[in-house]
Each structure stands twice: as C-alpha cells, then as structure tokens.
C-alpha cells in the first residue's frame, strides 16, 4: 500500500463542472492516485515554526474526493469515533459545494479543522476505507481539514446559535477539546455555560502541547471565539479545587462537566533525572508553545541545545523532537524501547520527523543520566533492549539485555506519558477515581459518582486522542441536557 508520501503523484486532468460531480465509473475513480498535499520542504521547515502541510487546492480536493466510491455500507464511518457522515461530505466536495460539505461535517464534528490535522486517520476512518484495501485510502482527514479551512477562510462559518434560554447554568472545568465541545453543544441546547481554565489561554493540549507547526494556534483561537460569540463565558487563570472548589461550583451550577485532561507528566525515576536540561515534554513544549520561548522577545527561557535525546515513541515524543530541531539542535535522538512498528505516534508525524533528520534510536531505554560540574546533563546511559512476548497491550514487551550505550547529550525530553492531574480528585469528596487517579465515569453518559457531575476526555480515558475527548464532550452534553430537562439521575454504572 502506498502512503500519502509518494511525492511523484500527478493530478489527473478531469473536467470539474461547477456545482456538479463529473460522471465517473468506480473503475475510473479507483484509477485516480491519492493526491498529495504540498508541504514545506524539510530543509526549509526545520528553521521555522510554520505549519508543515500547506493544504489542498480546490480542484485537487475535488479530485481526491472523487476517489470515494460511495459504498452502500460506508465502513469508513465505523472507523470514526464520532461517526461523521464521510461519504456525505466527500460528495459535496466532489460537487464543488464546499459550504454544503462543511455543513455535513459539522453535524458530527465541531472541530474539523483540528481533527483533520491531528486525528490518527490511518488507524481510524482511513483504515476502514474500502479503497484502501487495494490502493491508498481516500484522504479523509485532509479533506476534512480542507473543508474546515475553506469555510473559515471564506467567512462562511455559520455562527453557533444559542438555543432558547432554559435558565439552567452549567460549569465546565478545563478548556481542552472535551470542554470546548461540550460548551458548544450545551449552548445550542440553551443552557448558560461558564468555562473555567487553569492556564491563561484556553485550548488545553491544543495550545500548550501540540506545536504550531502541526496545529496553528489561530485555528484554536477561532474556535474559542465562536463559543464566546455565542455567549459562553470563559474564565482563564482559575484552578478549580484551588481558586474555587467543586463544592462551591455545585452550589452555583445545575451541572458540572470535568474535562481537566491528563496533564501530570510521568518521569522514570532514574538516577540523575533531575539534572538541568532534563525536561518533561510538557514543560519543554509549554515553554515553547504557550510561552513562546522560541521568540527572542519572550521572557520565558528554554535551554539551548546541541544534542538532544527524546525518550518515548508517541506523538508527544515526535513533537518534542521536532521542536528541539527547530530550536537549533544539531542532533536529536529519539530513544524508544521497542521498534518502529510498535511506535504509537501517527505515521505522518514519524515520517515528518525522519525527513527532518531526527535520528531514531530503537530498542534502547535510558537507565541513568550523568551531569557536568554545573549540574547539566551531559550523558544518557541507555540499555539495549530486545523484544520478548507480547504484553497486555498486545505489543511485544521490551526485555533488557545488559548491554549499554552512552549518548552524549545536553538536553533530554522525557515523553513517556501523562497521568491525570490530582487537583480535583484530591479536593473533591465523593468523586470516585480509578487506581491511577482517573475519574470514573459511565461510558454511555459521562456521569460520575457525584450527582450533577460529569467527566470526560483524558481525565477519564487517560492520555487518549483529541477526537475521543471531543466525543466525550458531546456525550456528556447530551446527558447533561437530559438531566436538566427531567431531573432524573438513574443509578450510575461506573466502569473500571
């Protein structure tokens, strides 16, 4: 199977009538090669923080959409966690009706410009695309992005219309994708929505974690503005549990949705891990993204690095590595204890990282760090691993070999995962949590052990994905609406 990265693809010449789809047989459709999205070259982009893929031209988007054979049973939809009507919006693109396409898209996904960019499509919708069985699947994610960008850039975004006021008030804690999505739906249902966010900017991981070159911040800002225009009240720099307690919120609001994410970085507890120059990915990325440390005008510093080791194999690790490269590091090593096959990062990010010269150091894991006289890390001692039997996650378990390699590095970015932030569970009585501190919530509704309190997104699922967080926001909003209408709180079935 070819991937999005066959650079030599040509765009066939097909007549594209205005407002209609050209008549093509399935065979003709299948003959169209998957279209490639132009992107900044690797040589160029490692010196800037601008977005890497540049978006489809209108005609290219239409041609790519023509690759869809309009399955009777569109399996692609089963692959999308929020069940977007994919053939529906593809058809609109093929017709050249981009505004109409965006309408279809937005029925199920209110943040398509974001999901189109960051969803692991090859594992979800595109994995299930029939065309992909023989050829490369339809570029569903990229077309989703195309529509959302087109709509925004052409000022065709339909404003979010608040529903008939119900007089009910809902508090949402955390302005990441889960919180923002729930806010949009709740406002549509006519409830008064107040969002509380601990940081000075809304967006959650979308603004402090995922870098500008993958997701331009102005897109997140635009989505937040839409909410504010519809009357959602946003209070930044308020930590629930500290500034205001959950109990106080319960006294003031009819319902509360907790969407506080998985913001607590894990470390490996290795000797030397607190040396200078060793960061959690969260800290490194926050300094650069949220605090703009790459800008000489910014007051927040970040280490200058020559040789960087990034520990981990997920999206977070790729983001750390590619950010370090852009900040001027000569060598960036990605140290991962399994092989490329087991890496959880999106394929596109791995390929982009590779093109940018990130050096993959598979089957290795740091065991200890050494520092110089100033206390800055100068060496990461890594142990070579072998793959053993599959573990609970189905991936083969890395087994230590007793062989060691020294990596000369002056910066280390630890990206081995994040856990739930303890602030709310710690200060809220009666809120049931799982072993690692994630809040327990009912799958079908998002309801928790506390009446009138819902939870969703990473705080429930553990570090997951944007689209799952969004889905959780919608599920909770629907359940909150039911509750506010009926006052019913049936017995809750909590999983895990």
């Amino acid at each position: 199977m070819s991937t999005a990265h066959d650079k030599a693809v040509v765009t066939p010449k097909i007549d594209l009538p205005a407002g209609a789809e050209p008549k093509l047989s399935n065979k003709e459709r299948m003959a169209i090669p998957r279209q490639v999205m132009p992107e900044q070259s690797a040589e160029e982009r490692i010196y800037n923080f601008l977005e890497v893929p540049l978006g489809f031209e209108e005609n290219v988007a239409r041609i790519e959409a023509l690759r869809c054979i309009k399955c009777k049973k569109p399996t692609c939809i089963d692959g999308c966690p929020v069940g977007i009507n994919i053939p529906g919006f593809l058809e609109k693109i093929a017709e050249g009706d981009f505004e109409g396409g965006a309408r279809v898209l937005k029925q199920d996904n209110i943040l398509p410009a974001i999901c189109g960019r960051v969803c692991p499509q090859e594992e979800q919708c595109e994995k299930q695309c029939i065309v992909g069985k023989k050829n490369a699947p339809v570029a569903i994610g990229r077309l989703e992005r195309f529509l959302a960008d087109w709509e925004r850039e052409h000022n065709k975004v339909q404003p979010l219309v608040p529903g008939e006021p119900t007089g009910k008030k809902v508090a949402i804690v955390g302005a990441g994708p889960a919180g923002l999505t729930a806010a949009a739906d709740l406002v549509r249902f006519g409830h008064k929505v107040v969002l509380y966010e601990a940081l000075h900017k809304p967006g959650g991981v979308l603004v402090y974690g995922i870098p500008e070159f993958r997701l331009p911040k102005k897109i997140v800002e635009f989505e937040v503005q839409q909410l504010e225009k519809a009357g959602v009240e946003l209070h930044n720099s308020v930590v629930i549990g500290q500034t205001i307690t959950m109990t106080e919120l319960q006294e003031t609001y009819d319902a509360i949705f907790v969407a506080t994410g998985a913001g607590l970085p894990y470390f490996m507890n290795l000797p030397g891990e607190n040396l200078n120059g060793i960061y959690s990915a969260n800290e490194y990325l926050t300094r650069v993204n949220l605090m703009k440390a790459y800008d000489p005008d910014s007051d927040t510093p970040v280490a200058k690095s020559k040789n960087v080791a990034v520990v981990g194999g997920g999206n977070v690790a790729m983001d750390g590595a590619r950010t370090a490269k852009r900040l001027g590091a000569d060598n960036v090593y990605l140290v991962y204890r399994r092989t490329r096959k087991e890496m959880p990062a999106r394929v596109e990010e791995v390929e982009h990282a590779e093109e940018e010269g990130i050096k993959f150091f598979f089957l290795h894991s740091p065991i200890r760090y050494e520092g110089d006289a100033q206390g800055r890390v100068c060496k990461a001692i890594c142990e070579r691993m072998e793959l053993g039997e599959p573990d609970a996650s189905g991936r083969r378990r890395p087994v230590p070999t007793g062989e060691y390699v020294d990596l000369e590095v002056d910066t280390v970015i630890v990206a081995i995962g994040n856990g739930p932030n303890p602030l709310i569970p710690r200060t809220t009585e009666g809120l049931d949590t799982k072993k690692w501190g994630n809040i327990k919530a009912e799958k079908a509704t998002g309801r928790t052990s506390l009446r009138g309190v819902w939870a969703g997104g990473d705080i429930v699922l553990g570090a997951a994905t944007v689209i799952l967080a969004m889905g959780a926001g919608r599920t909770a909003a629907k359940s909150i609406d039911d509750y506010l209408k009926t006052g019913d709180w049936p017995e809750v079935t909590l999983d895990g």
Binding site: H200, E248, N274, N282, G375, R376
Partner: protein, 307 residues
C-alpha cells in the same frame, strides 16, 4: 461568587516601596483572598508577554477582596512589576491560591526564622501559629539595616523577636543561625522551626537544626511554569523522592531536601536571565514614567496587543 475577569479583578490597588529593591503590592483578587491560607502562593504575569512568576501571598483582606505580595527585584519580570505596574493597572493574570497551606496546629513553642524577602511569606505563618496558641519566637535577618523589612509586623506577630544584620548596622551583628543557636541555648529546644529565606540561609538553618534535632520546615522556591502540576519543572528531591513543589509543597521537611540540587536547578537559566535584565535596565534607565512610554512604543512596534 466572583471570578477573575470581573471589573477590578487583578488590578493593582496599592503599591509601596519597602526598600530600594523590595516593593509591596496590594492586588484585587476576591476569590484568592477568600480562599488563601498561610503558605500558599500565586502565579502572576504583569503583561501579556511576561513570564509567569510565582509569589507568596504575604497577607490578604477578605473584606476588601485583596491580597498582598512582597516582591524583591531580582530580574526582568520583577523589575517590570516594580517599575511598570502602577496603581490602577491590571495584571495580565493572577492565578491562585496555589500549593498546600502550611500545616498549622498547636505544637508548643515555634521558632520562626526569616531572611531577607523571606520574612514576608513567614509573616502569615507566624500569625497562624500564634492564633493556634503556640509560643512563637521570631528571628529575622538581613544583610544590612536598609534591607530589613516588616520589622513592626513581625514584632506584633511574635511573642519575642530577635533581629540580626550581617554588618551589624541594626540588631545583633551576625547570621540568623547565630541567633538561632543563642535562642535554643537560652530557652531550650522548640517543637518546630520554620525557616524561609534565601536558599543558602535555609540550608544553613537546616544544618543547625538537624544537629540540634529540631524538626524544621522550609518553603522552597524552584523555577516554575504553570504552578498546577502540569510541567514538572519545579521538581525537587525530598527524602530521595521527586516532588513537585507547586502541588506537593511549597513546604517540606528541611532535613530531607536536596538543597544542592535545588540550587543548581535554580541557576540553570542564569545567563539568559541576566541578559534579559541587563537589556531591560538599558532600555528603561529613567524609571516608571519613561518605562510606560517605552512599553507603548515597543508594543506598537511589535504590533502586539497587551491584554
């Protein structure tokens, strides 16, 4: 319930220079004033492009809805605050109260040691211990007389107060550790010692109290970013375990703290910080009025909006 963005929130309502480098700020922050406990802190940004800096809540007035910060100018962010924030201006954000409150209970006799700017955060803790019916003996020190702050407040809060200066310009000549030894010799071992000040001072006090077998709390001040447990930048080693100061602290058992590691971590950005401070001083040699003008010019040039 009011929240941060209500009219008047985050506004500087009073400002007073306590010494050449130390300024007292009274800031409207109703929710924080209502919730804060001794030992907690806030994270402040003066302007939209400023760094987020942690500052202890030195005092507060629930009725007025204000908190008091006492801040020493040591670099760009604190200089910006001292010279560019005027009464009536609004901070870009004030976040808090953060951290765990001091665990205050009746223990008997408490010796509270404050050095330099550390006297400010020590003050509410002293008040708390006194209210909990402890006997509180204060020891405060500074390099010289003009750098000593809050003497009157501490006198009122403590049952007894010893004052020392390094150069002998006021009180007894010597270090707070000298006064601490003298005090223990005179009145015996206290149930608890609380020490807040520069890192070297807290380390020195810790050494003395360890030797004398006195349980000691110190309030740590590592470099922070978010203050909510999200970045891990504030980590310290306490009894061989990594702790996040912003959520697990800021107070810890002094005898378990790896002070050397903390000192190295604090100094990590020193060259960059010095550079930023020098540039700031060069750009703003004429004090507050001019700073304001410079700032507006800067902003216009950069096309950045100040929120």
């Amino acid at each position: 319930m009011t929240a941060n963005q209500d009219a008047g929130e985050s506004v500087l309502v009073a400002k007073e220079f306590l010494s050449s480098k130390v300024t007292k700020y009274v800031v409207r922050a109703r929710d924080i004033a209502r919730r804060r406990r001794p030992g907690q802190f806030v994270i402040v940004r003066s302007f939209a492009e400023s760094e987020r800096i942690p500052l202890t809540i030195a005092d507060g007035d629930e009725q007025e809805g204000t908190i008091t910060l006492i801040v020493q100018e040591v670099g760009k962010s604190t200089a910006e605050m001292a010279h560019m924030m005027r009464v009536g201006d609004r901070f870009a954000d004030v976040l808090g109260p953060l951290g765990m409150p001091t665990h205050i209970e009746k223990v008997g006799r408490v010796i509270a040691v404050g050095g330099g700017i550390g006297i400010a955060p020590l003050h509410p803790i002293v008040q708390g211990f006194r209210k909990a019916e402890n006997e509180v003996i204060g020891i405060i020190g500074a390099r010289s007389r003009d750098l000593l702050i809050m003497e009157e407040e501490m006198k009122r809060a403590c049952h007894r107060l010893r004052i020392v200066t390094d150069d002998g310009s006021y009180g007894d000549k010597g270090l707070v550790t000298d006064a601490l030894r003298a005090e223990v010799e005179a009145s015996g071992k206290p149930a608890l010692c609380v020490a807040i000040g520069p890192l070297v001072m807290m380390q020195a006090v810790s050494k003395v109290t360890k030797e004398l077998g006195i349980k000691t709390l110190v309030s740590l001040n590592p470099v922070m970013v978010d203050g909510t447990g999200m970045c891990g930048g504030c980590r310290v080693t306490v009894h061989n375990e990594t702790k996040f100061v912003c959520v697990d602290g800021p107070e810890f058992d002094a005898h378990g703290v790896d002070f050397d590691e903390l000192r190295r971590r604090q100094a990590f950005y020193a060259p960059q910080e010095r550079g930023a401070y020098d540039l700031f001083l060069k750009k703003h040699p004429f004090g507050a009025e001019h700073c304001k003008v410079h700032r507006l010019v800067d902003e216009a040039q950069r096309g950045k909006e100040a929120k």
